[in-house]
């Protein structure tokens, strides 16, 4: 074993090293990229199309279109860069492989392996007999005594060497000691000289270049690496897990902490809080908080901001993440008023319509606000009320004279989704009733309907349509079935800087103290198929005849419940508020009791119900109570009799 170190003059080692590093980086990157491309294609195909998408595009102003062109394709830019890096990387790999292949020294090193099977010209799985016969045959050919006299000295030596190798090969396969050597060291003669090398060419390590190398390493380890690590660390530290700047989150938390309950929450208050966000200041260090606030007001009132127009669009685009962050903090502080007004402010920003009692109408395009406010005979505040009038009359009410514009406005109004509650309950997967300390979730069946549709009560839909698949997977993960619903289509939001699909935020409130109990759950999957149905309230005369429940698609919303069910039997009331972030009037708000019962009671009640076969609810309730009373009495009796027997035994 020598202790000399050879430098890699023959380019034998460093190509492998570089190849390994490149592969480690390239293979995951390529896989990630391929996956993203496939996933993006999937996304596009699964989300629903909606007439609102085209209309939204049509009504989008030039300013916003230019802004989107400038700022939106950041994604594809990044993709292009990454693609270039991947392609360049694989080119390097190909070059290196070629270089390795053409390098004679490496080839030599590889071929110097001792392969006894190849030398004896037999396959790897030959028996001893075959090995011996092969050896005899070859030794006959190559034995020095058997060689012809005509060969030159060189040729002789070559053949003699070959004979030595053949003998060694035979020995390696048969003789014990040689075989051991071969197995352990790869060569029958025992340990070979191994050379240790440094995978660097000599010029880098010796003489002047060496100081440069050392300095280079010091710079890399001591300065460059810490710099990048600390920059990455401070970047991750400066943003919270919810995606907003830590200072913005602190500001919102401060406002919520110091919030006086006597203060009324208005959208103005939320906009004021938003204007203090650190993200805005980082984007535009020269502008003040007052400017940001006025820009937000400009956007909501659809005013042009002059030279600050791009700034306005950029900060409005940022409000999306900020509002979700604020909502998260507000719900953790259990404040219901701020949570609801924050979502209303979100609507206001998305639709660029101030929050007033007429917002539902004013969010529509082409509406002449002055004509509308002055003209209305009845006080029309909802889209549903608007659709009780004929199309022409609606045109007059909204102050729209152009035929096409009116048609488009009506199309938008008819495609705004409204949620109608069909059924809601607390369910525990696999059980028929909520037992104490179980983990229930809230299952809500909704109907997505248009304001144009005629109203029908939920009991018109028969029970069978509500049934869900109850297989093992659904018991293990009850929320998996939600992904069967399509993703939400694009929102009609021509004034918002970016294209969006939005969602509904589901808040759960404890009715006893009127406070929010958990962070909101975002609903981003619901089928809007019902909106295309023609069930106009103005034309449907006979509900019984014309209504066919099978044609209507029932949507499901499942809200996880953050706490286990209370351990006492009883009725606990909760209020569920499902608010849309996109449209006014698309909300749902209802009260839901959680009826915690003991399992044994329910089974007893079911038995009695089967026996008596009575339909009245009252008698069932009475049976429940009677059953539970009976059980109690039985227990008491048995205790009593136990005591009696004990005393009897003692006396005896």
């Amino acid at each position: 074993m020598t202790q000399s170190y050879d430098y890699d003059e023959g380019s034998e080692t460093w190509p492998f090293f570089v190849l390994a590093v490149l592969c480690v980086v390239l293979v995951p990157l390529t896989l990630m990229q391929a996956y993203e491309i496939i996933a993006a294609k999937d996304e596009d195909s699964s989300s629903q199309s909606s007439p609102l998408e085209k209309l939204s595009e049509k009504y989008t102003g030039d300013q916003v279109k230019r802004f989107r062109a400038k700022f939106a394709p950041k994604k594809s830019k990044l993709l292009a860069r990454r693609n270039l890096v991947i392609i360049a990387g694989w080119c390097m790999v190909a070059f290196l492989i070629n270089k390795i292949g053409s390098n004679g020294a490496i080839k030599d090193a590889a071929t110097l392996l001792f392969d006894p099977y190849a030398l004896l010209d037999i396959s790897a799985s030959s028996t001893d007999r075959e090995i011996r016969s092969a050896y005899r045959k070859l030794s006959v050919k190559f034995h020095p005594d058997k060689l012809s006299k005509d060969l030159s000295a060189d040729e002789r030596t070559v053949l003699e060497e070959q004979y030595v190798m053949i003998t060694k090969a035979y020995k390696a396969l048969t003789d014990e000691i040689t075989r051991e050597n071969y197995l352990r060291y790869g060569h029958p003669d025992g340990p070979q000289a191994t050379s240790h090398g440094i995978a660097l060419p000599k010029f880098l390590v010796d003489s002047s270049a060496s100081t440069l190398m050392v300095l280079g390493y010091i710079a890399l380890l001591g300065f460059i690496l810490p710099f990048f690590v600390s920059r990455w660390w401070s970047k991750t530290q400066s943003f919270t897990k919810k995606g907003i700047h830590a200072r913005s989150a602190s500001y919102f938390a401060d406002r919520l902490f110091n919030f006086k309950p006597s203060q009324v929450v208005t959208t103005g208050l939320i906009l004021n809080w938003l204007s203090h966000a650190a993200e805005f200041k980082l984007l535009y260090p020269d502008l003040t908080q007052e400017t940001f606030e006025s820009l937000l007001y400009d956007h909501i009132n659809r005013r042009h901001s002059g030279e600050l127009e791009t700034a306005k669009l950029r900060i409005v685009a940022k409000t999306h993440a900020l509002l979700f962050g604020l909502l998260d903090i507000a719900t953790t502080f259990r404040n219901l008023e701020i949570s609801t007004v924050a979502i209303d402010t979100f609507k206001s920003i998305v639709q660029a319509t101030p929050l007033t009692s007429h917002s539902q109408i004013l969010q529509l395009p082409n509406v002449d606000a002055k004509r509308f406010e002055e003209g209305s005979v009845d006080d029309i505040r909802t889209l549903g009320k608007l659709f009780t009038f004929e199309d022409e009359k609606i045109g007059k009410i909204l102050g729209i004279e152009d035929e096409t514009k009116l048609r488009e406005t009506l199309s938008v109004a008819a495609n705004i989704p409204h949620l109608k509650l069909l059924r809601a309950e607390f369910t525990v997967p696999g059980e028929s009733v909520v037992t104490p300390l179980s983990t229930p979730h809230i299952s809500v069946k909704v109907l997505v309907r248009s304001a144009k549709h005629k109203f029908f009560t939920p009991n018109k839909i028969p029970d069978e349509l509500y049934k869900e698949e109850q297989d093992f997977d659904s018991l293990r993960d009850p929320f998996a079935s939600l992904s069967n619903q399509p993703a939400l289509p694009r929102t009609f939001a021509p004034h918002f800087p970016a294209k969006r699909s939005g969602c509904w935020c589901a808040l759960v409130v404890l009715q006893k103290d009127g406070k929010v109990i958990q962070t909101p759950m975002l609903v981003d999957r619901l089928s809007f198929a019902n909106l295309n149905k023609d069930f106009d309230k103005r034309t449907v005369k006979d509900l019984e005849k014309e209504f066919n429940p099978e044609e209507w698609e029932i949507g499901t919303i499942k809200i996880p419940f953050s706490q286990p069910a209370p351990d006492q039997k009883g009725d606990y009331y909760f209020r569920v508020i499902v608010k849309s972030t996109e449209y006014f009037g698309a909300d749902l708000d209802f009260t839901l009791p959680m009826m915690v019962r003991e399992l044994s009671e329910v089974e007893g009640a079911e038995k009695i119900a089967d026996d008596s076969a009575s339909d009245e609810d009252d008698s069932d309730l009475e049976d429940d109570e009677e059953d539970s009373n009976d059980e109690l009495e039985d227990d008491e009796d048995s205790d009593y009799t136990d005591i009696d027997t004990d005393t009897e035994v003692e006396e005896n």
């Binding site: 074993m1 020598t2 202790q3 000399s4 170190y5 025992g190 340990p191 000289a193 530290q237 400066s238 919270t240 897990k241 919810k242 830590a246 200072r247 989150a249 602190s250 938390a253 401060d254 902490f257 110091n258 006086k260 309950p261 006597s262 203060q263 009324v264 208005t266 962050g325 998260d328 903090i329 953790t332 502080f333 259990r334 007033t356 009692s357 962070t519």
Partner: protein
Amino acid sequence: MSSNYSDFNSTFTEDGGPTVETKVVSFYTPLLYVSILVVSLAVFASHYRKKTVQELSRLPSMFDESVARDLYYELKQMSESEETKVHEKVLKAALLNRGAEAIRRTLKLKESEPQVTMLYKNGSVGEEYWKRYQNEVKLVDLEFKECIQEAEMMQPGWPQLFVGVCREICFNQALKRRYQAILLRKDVFAVQWDLKFDDNGRLLE
């Protein structure tokens, strides 16, 4: 003096391979190295600790204002500087106000504790906020103790009654503030709901 010396144990002859150089290393070198390391670490540690303490003291309070406390000290300063004679009852009133505010803050911090902890655990809020909260708890506690000390100085033996009285004052002040907010709320709601009222408070259609 030590030198590196190696034995050769090769299967084939050495033919002028690179000779191993011996380097002369002083005995004190490792000691020097270790001492430099330790000293620099110690300096860094003390510097860092001083910096964190400085940062903590510069952190803004969780409460928006400290008016009650400032008013008391301003009045105290005024009475001590003798330019305008402040009656002792005014000073007492300022101290009671300050004590009531301190009690309000302790209660507020205690009731927000589970929510702030959850915010921090969920990562909704940064490290700095959590530090501020813990700092604030200590500061408010200190502030209340100071109040009691001032009360003792003003009227010996008063602190026992002082605490009980401050509690009542705190709640009654909150009640009055909430009651006085009623007028303002009426206006805000009228605007929000687009309603108009006549002089008798009746709704105008």
